[in-house]
Symmetry: C2
Subunit: 349 residues, 2 copies
DNA sequence: AACGCCTATTGTAACGTTGCAAACCCTGTG
DNA sequence: CACAGGGTTTGCAACGTTACAATAGGCGTT
């Protein structure tokens, strides 16, 4: 009817139960099933004229390959599994990162299967399940640990995966990471410029590699600038917000209170700002805050704070590229991406 | 070796290329392939003793059914597709809702395939793709519109789906929704109690059904209490935050400025609070704010505001239940869930 | 004209599962 | 002892695809 439909595959023809198969197309074209399969796969062994004729007939009949049959035959799923832990700080992370992955996978025929990092006690169970049921061609996970059991398992079984973050394993593997060490150096340098003397950072748990990178970078920068650095030991990024707030308050009450804060996440920034508000501390006067910005949402935090960007959308895109390259067998040295922070940006406008 | 491994299926036995099949198990047990298939499916036609013997052998060999083969044979995918638009306000929505769905699907063998609501212009393309490639047994989508083209398409093709939100179609279909009408009434009633006279609400676009419900409820409540109600026409929930802020400012500058705000989302609440801060308005004195709380993150907004809860995790769980029931053919009247708001809660502690 | 060679196409056999109809065995009954 | 009948088990076929080996046809070479 409409212009639009004229160019596109007819939809009604592909009704659930009468779906045309290779056989249907082959019969219509008067060739063998194999020929159709090859023609549609652009196999060079099929003559250009037949290829064209067959693909026209396939279009006319509304042929769509059956994914289940392809999977059974080839063993490939055209699916990528993303492991996420629903308990963790998603906030903008999921949407930005995921959005980037979609951009990167667009047009490749791959889809993303999101799996909850086990609800139970054994988080390897999820991964075993994916591998054993052949639920995906590759796996992605985040919050990578220095000696990550998931990475170890996948390495051992030679199952394709890409981590968000690095590990400390000797065996190299594909990853996409953000240079948190550079980030924290920049953040601290900025606080130094503002004349701050004592910096406080609530860190991710040290089992995470990015927790190590942040600690290392922070200690180095603090030493370089001769600043005092406090990393609360009782709480980390995943602690109950109320516990974090209590820790910040008690630090502030003690002698030599911090006058500069680095927030390595958006939730952390919100909590810190709430703490400042509750204590009646004026950002920009009594203290300064520099936070990681992973999405535009940070722009609406008040008081305004300075930010350094982690481009999660670009991370997602890089992840998609690395995944596809890994699946098609690229060498691991081409599959290690370290993204750099951008900023600092002053949000005031 | 360990206690743990003793009870569970051996893993090494299931190595990628030597994976045991029904045939392997059948040979080992000295029975027919069909018998094994039935035994493992707990078919009553198989004697209890054989069933037990076979399932022990299957365990020993580390047999796992091949999903692709099952799909090809049965046409079922054991996958549920969730359509998400990466451009929209996810924030906590995704994580909470998704977390709930996982809880609900836990142990059912179903997995969730997250698909970006088309990046291109034709968002039906995504759905057609799912249907035509049999990528899922059912589809879920959010931000349902009064005359939603996705719902229309799926109804026409009799493809199982559950919407988050209702439609205005005559044909009933499964949905899970939050009673936004009740929510906004409660929010306004609360502002009335606080002595407010002029309420401002930035609404979702009116094409969304929940936008209609909110408008209806707000107008009713305003009339009932004799309050003035302003719904800015130039912006909606999806507008650029800066545009929303500008609108709020110009409303405030005009005569008869609003003294009460209802925020129907977390981003909206953040923007409103930033606006109050920028204008030097004191929440609780100059104005009052009541916001929808969809996750604990709202607790850290400052100044503290009163909230009414939408339990997105429960929504996700309900969604999972409705989906499973829909797939197994339950009547549509049992598949329509309307969840109630909880609160109001005063966040101060 | 016969041969070999290259290209284009074909036929057959799986992949691992489940549905269906048929066959088997065993027990109880006439 | 034959036979019916129920409970169990079996074999075959099919789902739609792709890999592999084999075949048919055309053309240049000797």
């Amino acid at each position: 009817m409409s212009q639009k439909n004229a160019g596109t595959t007819m939809d009604g023809a592909a009704d659930a139960h009468t779906r045309p198969t290779l056989r249907t197309v082959a019969a219509e074209a008067g060739v063998a099933v194999t020929t159709v399969s090859r023609a549609l796969a652009d196999d060079p062994r099929i003559a250009e004229t037949t290829r064209k004729r067959i693909s026209e007939i396939a279009d006319k009949l509304g042929y769509v390959p059956n994914r289940a049959a392809q999977r059974l035959r080839t063993g490939r799923t055209k699916v990528i599994s993303l492991l996420l832990n629903p308990r963790h700080e998603f906030l903008s992370f999921t949407s930005e990162f995921l959005g980037g992955m979609y951009e990167g996978l667009n047009g490749t025929g791959y889809s993303i299967n999101i799996t909850a990092d086990s609800l139970g006690d054994d988080r390897l169970e999820t991964i075993r399940n994916i591998r054993r049921h052949s639920l995906a061609d590759a796996i992605v996970f985040t919050r990578t640990e220095c000696f990550d059991d998931r990475a170890r398992y996948l390495l051992e079984h030679d199952f394709p995966f890409v981590t968000h973050g690095r590990t400390d394993f000797m065996t190299p593997h594909p990853f996409v990471d953000f240079d948190n060490e550079a980030f924290v150096r920049m953040a601290i340098a900025r606080l130094v410029e503002k004349g701050r003397k004592h910096i406080c950072i609530v860190m991710p748990n040290e089992k995470y590699t990015f927790g190590q990178h942040l600690r290392f970078g922070a200690r180095q920068a603090a030493t370089d600038h001769g600043m005092k650095l406090t990393i609360p030991a009782e709480v980390d990024l995943d602690s109950e917000p109320d516990d974090i707030a209590a820790t910040l308050r008690s630090l502030h009450a003690g002698p030599d209170a911090p006058d500069g804060y680095v927030c390595v996440g958006e939730v952390s920034a919100l909590i810190t700002l709430a703490f400042l508000n509750d204590m009646g501390l004026a950002e920009g006067q009594d203290v300064d805050v520099v936070a990681k910005r992973a999405s535009p949402i940070s722009n609406h935090f008040r008081p305004r704070i300075e930010t350094i960007d982690e481009d999660l959308r670009a991370t997602g895109r890089a992840m998609a590229k690395v995944l596809l390259d890994r699946i098609s067998g690229a060498p691991v040295e081409d599959l290690q991406v370290l993204l750099q922070p951008e900023g600092p940006f002053s949000i005031s406008r």
